[in-house]
Symmetry: C2
Subunit: 559 residues, 2 copies
């Protein structure tokens, strides 16, 4: 291990996950050894029209594929593992993860037909992983909103690089798996050269409450509910699901599980021993209507108001198997992710309209806690690790910035704190760190089966089309004498109701004809000029009449 | 007054503002007298692509135009007066409002060329307005985030109908204008048949803090700021603006005002005496750079992260007159309206990147308070008015529902509480109230100059176009022998990058040709069938290849 060469150096950078929440992917490189931490996806921003998901640009990794020693996973959330099926297609390297994490990954790889060809290596807190000739990784248990989360310590010839993964400090964990404070303290004692730490809740003062608090509230709600309890939460929150099971058990209710990802996670987590469901506790959705209402819990997806999710369908009375009945108690055990507030609000309204009693977050309802540590926990991590250099990661810029201030407050030298953007390299050599340029980094947009075939021009067109629609103008000209043989015909999509706008479209027709005839009488005959002429004249007319700018597509034929 | 006829009855309903936040418009009718309260607009939902604003469907009013006695305005916010320019075009009736409200309305009507033909009648708290032969309105002062807000009591032969407008109880109002508790108590004492009350904050426990609290915080920030202070807030919040002026004065700073609506409101409110700005306090934006940084306040629009607003431009360094400099203090004195969280977050990130210190809401920053009363204030209003019948208005369904529970809690008979949707009539006769059907109600969408010419089909097309774009397929067939004379040519917009998808489009071309030739060989010659054939075959192929469903527009010509 640790063959140190004077010209070798350590570089650390993010390909995703800084300046954003999502598509986490971090790179640690020493000499010819590259280690990747996580490989996540992000859901599209509102201006990425029609896009399904977004993954990081991994050009740097594919260009250096012979150096990539593996992908280490911190935990099984989509923003940390969701990019794997795309990344592994181009980069066949071993994947390291804890049992539950690999369980979730395997499910994904199976769907993508990549399971056979991917080397998966199970790690636990006591594993040591040798990565190339210079790097070695070890792990420490953390608390998060999914079991089996770990932080990673990568030993390099320059010193230790610690990546916290996503974490909180839950002093009363649901599964009895405490964050390993002793291990973290020992790493700090040994010395941390670079710390990369989760900034998600850097804006939140205080301490994030224990997941166990939610269990107490749930049991109370279950007990008081006169009829069925319907509860939606994040499918991956196995701790929460365990508490739903516990509350159901202690209040004599059976559970039916609805929604693809919820069914998946319950199956995988039960199989692997992360979820303890008493025999006979689970019932099929079809059995719900045969049971007394106060003996039933419906556990489902849809806590973000996602249009196709189980809860949304129930709220709209379009679910095939379960209806919401007056008097049912519906719990939405989640906080809306920014951007989803309106969807969640609409679901709540629809549930109330059906006569349900809806319990949702806000006003200290106690039915949700975050999986990320607040300011006091971030400071605790900083003081356990006592890093020389610090990179706040996993957050929007404002969160990174707050996290940097926290690090300053606990004594990290401000000159040793690096708020980076994706691709920005921090280089460490001889105990000194500096910014050292950029590698290629960015968003790769996935639309259907297409990876990266939708870019700015396509998005700009979708944006234009979405605002004012399109007019296709079809005209046939005579080759001989430059008269109009047929048309112009104007076809409108997404612009105006044709029936109510006949006058406008008739006038548009006349303008196209007269523009063409005028241009041709001036001996303008190149199609490009004729098309531009039609576009300009028609665009001007429509803007004057409607203040809209539909896309105009002239199709001029010659016979 | 009060000619009572046994068959006459009172009806109350909303044309906008229930089941939604926005486009407030309420109707009170007795016999042949109709009174409208407010005439607001709403900003489009995220599925209303390309739409600028939304107003209520006023068919009921235009069909009964001879009975409409006037529009009473509670205050000058857009969701209460923004629909007037559209409504008055179709319904020329008198408009009643307080001084500031009418000042803001006049500005709007001037822009719409409606000022001359609109009768505007100034009211104050002591006005009594006779409306037709059966109705009479009086007013009571309330507190809200704009001065000169009033509630309205409409005396009818059946009894008093009270509309609170938007309100909070601010016991230390910035302008010294207290909510008139005595007047409200007297109305309650006289007897309230129907109360319609603001549900915006019905989910919030406790009491909304006084606007004055914000002033204390602002002065403290202004004093400590080493360089310029930039503050964005709602332009209509004249109280907030007054406190910015006060804080600037006491800390020796001058103010420049940026953003069209902010400039407008400052001018109108100053002219009408609602804003007290010391002489020489205001400076032009051009002077900012000549002044010492710690002598300047920039008061601007953009507190919602609106893309074209002053603060957003400054954050992106694209504002013509003011740059954000490192060390500037930027205050965003507002809470993001649901749906705007991401925009606001992005603005904050950009400001931090420029080196500014950004102070924004959350974590008890104290820089914003709501203009709407919380649960304790809603109960106070209910107990002041002691209504027989209660309609929670001005809110999404879940807020109306919470408000109904509050009313029950203070003793309103649950059978006398009506949560209504837009258009749903509550009828009162002989002291008994009941639901009595619906009038036409809905959204009228305004896109550019078009009012109501964009409906579901156009929106559906825009949605489709925004998701996967459009392919236009042009083919010329021979009349004689059914061969393809030219094409197929495929033009793609918003689907894929043409250059990177040549293979796909070539194959698409072949599929169109073979489909057409096959159909024609089977003697299918009607254009409609040929077009459907092309659409189906091409659509199927593209979905298989890309999992996308672009709109396909076949254009088949015959020569």
């Amino acid at each position: 291990m640790s063959k140190k060469n004077n010209s070798d150096k350590l570089t650390v950078f993010a390909l995703g996950g800084v300046g954003e929440i999502g598509k986490n992917m971090y790179v640690v490189q020493y000499a010819n050894d590259i280690v990747v931490v996580d490989s996540g996806l992000k859901f599209p921003e509102e201006d990425m029209l029609g896009i399904d998901i977004v993954i990081p640009d991994i050009s740097y990794l594919t260009e250096n594929r012979d150096k990539v020693r593996g992908i280490l996973l911190t935990h099984g959330h989509e923003d940390h593992i969701g990019g794997l099926p795309y990344v592994l297609k181009h980069l066949n390297v071993p994947v390291y993860g804890t049992k539950l994490t690999l369980g979730l990954v395997e499910n994904k790889l199976k769907e993508a037909n990549l399971l056979g060809e991917t080397k998966r290596i199970l790690i636990d807190e006591d594993s040591e992983v040798v990565l190339g000739s210079t790097l070695k990784a070890s792990f420490f248990r953390t608390n998060h909103s999914i079991p089996d989360s770990v932080g990673i310590c990568i030993a390099t010839p320059e010193g230790n690089v610690v990546h916290t993964g996503d974490f909180k400090f839950d002093h009363t964990p649901v599964n009895g798996q405490y964050a390993n404070l002793q291990r973290m303290a020992a790493i700090g004692e040994e010395g941390v050269l670079v710390l990369m730490s989760d900034s998600t809740n850097a804006e939140k003062p205080g301490f994030t409450p224990s997941e166990k608090n939610v269990g107490v509230v749930l049991e109370d709600i279950f007990r008081k509910a006169a009829q069925r309890v319907v509860i939606a939460t994040f499918a991956s929150n196995v701790h929460r699901i365990q508490q739903v099971v516990n509350a159901a058990e202690s209040t004599g209710r059976k559970i039916t599980v609805i929604g693809r990802s919820m069914v998946n996670v319950v199956a995988i987590a039960s199989d692997l021993g992360y979820l303890n469901v008493p025999d006979g506790m689970l019932i099929e959705p079809e059995e719900v209507n045969k049971m007394a209402a106060d003996r039933v819990v419906v556990l489902c997806t849809g806590s973000q108001g996602e249009p196709m999710s189980a809860l949304t369908r129930m709220a709209r009375s379009t679910h095939r198997k379960v209806d919401i009945l007056p008097g049912d108690t519906v719990i939405i055990a989640a906080t809306p992710v920014p951007g989803n507030e309106k969807y969640v609000g609409r679901t709540i309204d629809e549930l109330f309209r059906l006569g349900a009693d809806v319990i949702y977050s806000g006003a200290n309802s106690g039915i949700h806690v975050s999986g990320h540590g607040s300011q006091e926990e971030l400071k605790l991590m900083l003081n356990l690790m006592k890093p020389k250099f610090f990179l706040p990661i996993h957050g929007e810029y404002r969160m990174q910035r707050r996290h940097a201030l926290l690090a300053e407050a606990v004594g990290v030298d401000p000159d040793n704190i690096f708020i980076t953007d994706i691709g920005e390299i921090v280089e460490v050599q001889g105990g000194a760190a500096r910014r050292a340029g950029k590698v290629t980094a960015g968003n790769v947009l996935i639309d259907g089966l297409g990876v990266g075939d939708v870019g700015n021009i396509v998005l700009r067109d979708r944006k234009l089309l979405s605002q004012d629609g399109i007019l296709v103008v079809v005209v046939t000209l005579s080759k001989q004498d430059g008269t109009i043989m047929s048309g112009p015909d104007i076809i409108s999509r997404g612009f105006v109701y044709v029936r109510e706008s006949e006058g406008l479209l008739d006038e548009a027709n006349r303008i196209v004809s007269s523009t063409l005839l005028k241009l041709m009488s001036e001996n303008v005959n190149e199609w490009a000029s004729l098309k531009t002429g039609v576009k300009d004249a028609l665009g001007r007319f429509l803007y004057e009449q409607t203040r809209r700018r539909p896309m105009i597509l002239p199709i001029i034929m010659e016979v």
